[in-house]
């Protein structure tokens, strides 16, 4: 899938040439080599990081909140990131120019996005502890989503066309155009998040029986909760920052893994979600630059177009939806 993703694109490059370029040899056309090394390879790597990170964060959310509808986007995590980035990009004009540059650099946006998602997650958690009702948590997430879009609406009203364009492009989601340095930062963030998630496999399994049973089996609930939330925030936050708010992957992939493997054991779910996440995201990326099409479609549209029917289809096929 990875190589297929690299091979396909708006410029047709023979598969053999792709392999030569990747292994360090010289392709027969230098433009081909350039396209592969500086455009397609980074994009494929980003797709894998995004797919894996979002899927795993969705898996963690669904178990922590005991809710099959939980996911980084439904719970308002992405909304938080969107709001923070909107404030940074669209509101930067209000700041003095030297601050402006720092804030608008790639790292400023990453930082804003991560902070945005962490604060929303803490808010959701606060509500979760007060209300104990998982439906209420989702409603809070939804409310926060509409609140965000309203604020973003107000901000766009006061911003310049250039700022607006930048924000719109970011919000459509984009796997490409990332320099190697950014990919490195993203990879480090995702790796940290994934390692934290591995260490929360045992607590997640305990949480399958509910908070009280988990505590009775020796789980330090507060510590585990914090660990899971931190892992989710760093995954969803960094990905949203670099690739924009990508919908549906976080919600759909864990379900696809659960429905195909028919298990709740997180040791299995972790790896199946991991690989499904990578494969599905690469597939969406291939679909977005469909061979023969000159333009590349926004990735956000593709993930929803592919993800929604897949989940519905799986639901219809397997009735015991858990």
């Amino acid at each position: 899938m990875f190589f297929l993703d690299i091979s396909l694109g708006s410029v047709t490059i023979p598969f053999k040439e792709v392999c030569t370029s990747l292994t360090g040899g010289n392709a027969s056309k230098s433009t081909w080599e350039y396209i592969i090394i500086n455009y397609r390879l980074p994009k494929a790597i980003t797709a894998v990081l995004v797919g894996v990170g979002l899927s795993i964060s969705g898996l963690l959310m669904q178990t922590l909140f005991r809710n099959p509808l939980a996911g980084p986007d439904v719970l308002g995590l992405s909304s938080g990131a969107i709001l923070a980035v909107a404030v940074v990009i669209l509101g930067a004009g209000l700041l003095p120019s030297f601050l402006n540059e720092i804030v608008l650099s790639a790292y400023g946006i990453v930082l804003a996005s991560t902070l945005g998602s962490i604060s929303v997650l803490l808010l959701v958690l606060l509500v979760a502890q007060r209300l104990r009702n998982t439906m209420a948590i989702l409603i809070v997430g939804l409310m926060f989503g509409s609140f965000t879009s309203a604020i973003v609406g107000v901000l766009t009203y006061f911003s310049s066309a250039e700022q607006l364009q930048r924000f719109t492009f970011w919000s459509l989601g984009n796997l490409g155009n990332l320099p190697w340095a950014s990919i490195f930062v993203l990879a480090v963030c995702v790796a940290i998040g994934l390692l934290l998630s591995i260490s929360s496999i045992k607590p997640l399994n305990a949480l399958l029986l509910g908070e009280n049973y988990a505590k009775s089996m020796g789980l330090n609930y507060k510590k585990a909760q914090l660990l899971i939330i931190f892992a989710t925030s760093i995954l969803a936050g960094s990905i949203t920052a670099f690739a924009g708010p990508i919908a549906f992957i976080g919600l759909a992939v864990p379900h696809i893994a659960k429905l195909t493997f028919q298990t709740s054991n997180h040791a299995i779910l972790y790896w199946s979600t991991f690989f499904y996440g990578a494969i599905i995201m690469l597939f969406c990326d291939i679909a977005s630059q469909f061979p023969g099409l000159d333009t590349t479609l926004p990735i956000n549209a593709i993930t929803s177009i592919i993800g929604a029917p897949v989940v519905v289809w799986l639901l219809m096929k397997k009735r015991n939806f858990q």
């Binding site: 005991r66 099959p68 591995i198 260490s199 496999i201 045992k202 399994n205 305990a206 399958l208 029986l209 509910g210 009280n212 049973y213 505590k215 009775s216 089996m217 020796g218 789980l219 330090n220 659960k258 028919q262 298990t263 709740s264 054991n265 040791a267 015991n320 858990q322």
Partner: protein, 285 residues
């Protein structure tokens, strides 16, 4: 007989006696005690005391039932002696150690719970669910070693649900699920198991079989099992000891002593319900 031999004999007899005493003590081993325990709720405004000066003893190999009317504070008592809730005053000792000083993991190796709450939706199989009881002993990622698997299989056999091991936990009946939850507590390998109303939602047949199972477990494993229940008739017949909670007092004794003391008559303050001491039953007038 020479004096020497007599002395030897008396030494042997003494040793045997101390050995018998040792085993006697072993059988009666005290697992949980409360000393001058007061339970209730403390808020900024006021302190609500539910019961005071509780001195309860839970011994190994005993099946002990906790009864009392709705809202009397059974759950508060259970929460306090399991360390979830702090006592207003007094102490709870588990294996001679104050329960407040236990670390979560250590507590999980000494006390297992079966709760009334519904399990959240998941795809867990019966085996996986019971195996979760091994969490206090497994490594950081929760791998089951051969010993863990043996313990899980033992728990499944003791509760007679080995044939269900591969089923999903939502595919089995309420009675079977209750057994699975008990098996999970057994797999946790603790000297004390506390169950909160394990017989609710079950019909008479399954209630009886569950009580008999608990009785069998205490006899075969020498564990102490404490459970709260509203099935007083059955509890009287099958428990080794009972704890009766009324607004005035909390009494712990053997069922027949409680009957002769007339303790059951004080349980419900209603003229329509009386306790027939001969039949050991409540009767509606």
């Amino acid at each position: 007989m020479a004096v020497n031999e007599k002395k030897k004999l008396s030494v042997i007899i003494k040793k045997l006696k101390s050995l018998a005493l040792f085993f006697g003590n072993f059988n009666m081993k005290n697992i949980l005690t409360t000393s001058n325990l007061s339970i209730g709720y403390k808020s900024k405004k006021e302190t609500v005391t539910i019961a005071e000066n509780l001195n309860l003893n839970l011994d190994a190999g005993k099946l002990i039932s906790l009864i009392g009317a709705n809202g009397i504070g059974k759950s508060t008592l259970l929460r306090t002696i399991t360390g979830i809730q702090k006592p207003l005053s007094g102490n709870v000792f588990l294996n001679d150690k104050d329960i407040a000083s236990f670390k979560p993991l250590e507590l999980a190796q000494n006390l297992a719970l079966v709760l009334t709450e519904k399990l959240p939706p998941s795809n867990l199989t019966v085996f996986e669910l019971v195996a979760l009881g091994r969490q206090p002993y497994t490594n950081w990622i929760g791998t089951l070693n051969p010993e863990d698997i043996t313990k899980v299989n033992e728990a499944l056999e003791l509760t007679q649900i080995s044939h269900l091991a591969r089923k999903k936990h939502f595919e089995i009946s309420d009675g079977q699920l209750q057994k699975v939850l008990i098996a999970r507590a057994l797999a946790q390998d603790t000297p004390l198991i506390i169950l909160d109303e394990p017989t609710t939602h079950l019909d008479l047949l399954h209630k009886v079989s569950l009580f008999k199972l608990l009785k069998k477990l205490t006899q075969e494993t020498q564990k102490c099992i404490l459970f709260s229940t509203h099935d007083i008739d059955l509890a009287i017949q099958l428990s080794d000891e009972m704890i009766i909670m009324t607004p005035e007092s909390v009494i712990q004794d053997e069922p027949c002593n409680l009957i002769s003391k007339g303790s059951f008559a004080t349980l419900f303050k209603d003229e329509h319900i009386t306790f027939d001491a001969e039949k050991g039953k409540f009767i509606v007038n």
